[in-house]
């Protein structure tokens, strides 16, 4: 079997996952297409290095391509924001308010709130909730320790719950006016 054929069978079927991740990280269809195309060609060149499952392997390549793109085009996004366990623990309230009424969760509102999350939190949330990857796989893709995956995920959910609640309250005030 040719390399191209093996690639088409093992890697190309995961193009939706690749695009979904790139779309959430770049927040733009057009840029996501460019980044995924570059990442796929890179994946093809490094296809020999594939061991184990193709999807997390491909997503790691896509993720790195996205970060290179963001560093070039929106450097403020990667540079900004406190990171590391200490910073996250320091700002996390002990009794975190993940609370919200999920039934009230409006689709558009939720998508906007996820898109507004800082990059490093958005990334783990998408990999966990939309790609259903394990902490171990996410750690490998994002190139951070598992402990950092856990704290970022907790932080991502907390931030998301807070912003959804703020939006919900604001829209309720709007309708009461």
């Amino acid at each position: 079997m040719t390399d191209r054929r093996r690639f088409e069978q093992q890697v190309l079927p995961h193009i939706d996952a690749a695009f979904n991740l790139a779309r959430w990280l770049t927040r733009n269809d057009h840029d996501a297409e460019d980044v995924v195309q570059d990442a796929m060609l890179r994946a093809y060149r490094h296809f020999e290095g594939l061991r184990g499952e193709a999807r997390p392997w491909l997503l790691a390549i896509v993720r790195n391509a996205c970060f290179s793109w963001i560093r070039r085009n929106r450097p403020a996004e990667v540079a900004a924001g406190p990171d590391g366990e200490a910073a996250e623990a320091a700002t996390a309230p002990a009794d975190g308010p993940e609370a919200l009424l999920a039934r009230e969760l409006d689709r558009r509102m939720l998508n906007e709130a996820i898109a507004a999350l800082p990059l490093q939190f958005r990334e783990v949330l998408i990999l966990r909730e939309l790609e259903d990857l394990s902490y171990r796989e996410i750690a490998r893709i994002a190139d951070v320790p598992i402990g950092t995956v856990m704290s970022r995920l907790a932080r991502a959910r907390r931030l998301l719950a807070e912003s959804v609640r703020v939006i919900a309250v604001a829209s309720r005030l709007q309708t009461e006016k």
């Binding site: 040719t2 390399d3 191209r4 054929r5 690639f7 088409e8 069978q9 093992q10 190309l12 079927p13 995961h14 193009i15 939706d16 996952a17 690749a18 695009f19 979904n20 779309r23 959430w24 269809d29 996501a32 297409e33 995924v36 195309q37 796929m40 060609l41 093809y44 499952e53 193709a54 999807r55 002990a94 009794d95 975190g96 993940e98 609370a99 919200l100 009424l101 999920a102 039934r103 969760l105 689709r107 939720l110 998508n111 996820i114 949330l125 966990r128 909730e129 939309l130 790609e131 259903d132 394990s134 902490y135 856990m150 995920l153 907790a154 959910r157 998301l160 719950a161």
Partner: protein, 244 residues
Amino acid sequence: MKPEEAARLLHAYVDRELDAAKSLELEAQLAADPALRERFERLRELSAGIREKADYHAAPSSLAARLSAALPGAASIAPRRATRWILPAAAAALAAALAVGIALVRPGDEDALLREMVASHVRSTLGNRLIDVASSDQHTVKPWLSARLPFSPPVADFSPEGFELAGARLDYVGGRPVAVLVYKRRQHLIDAFIWPGSGPRDGAYSRDGFNVERSSAEGMRICLVSDLNRNELSDLARLLIARR
């Protein structure tokens, strides 16, 4: 377990990443602490809400075409229309079957059922036995199924909505005969497993690139299995339920 540690481990528990010993410890704490229990429920709702409602951005078909042109070497997938989608689908199916087999987190009837349905989807895409009765006409498919099953499943073509009925087959899942409607959307195949009964757990799940959408309506269980993205899969689920 200290309260701070319990709060910290809630996320891992919701994500099914906690080992058995810690899970038991945390469950004891949950039973004893209503406030913790409340946080757990909220967290689980949030996670389920994201899975259900966040957009899943499937790759536009133009991207696959661009890639095909950009990759070195000749495209080796058979150019015949009918088989073009089978190869990638089958490869993903095989990978998913292996992953499901190896990485099953929680044993149990529901997971076993899920595994059986994904395996059935895989087998049908690998072999030629996709479809026992090939027809987009519900008036052909429905009587064919009803004649062979102890129940009459809902059958409908949703071509106007972009889900073309390709046909149906019979299968044996969870110790009972089931109807499987086969739908096509773009390059994707969707199996809709249908049988009488109700289920304790509705919702969307995913296993290595495969999405499973479970729902029930008026005494019928409907489980969709496909590599199609979640949002479109739930669109089909809604159509099927509305039709029922």
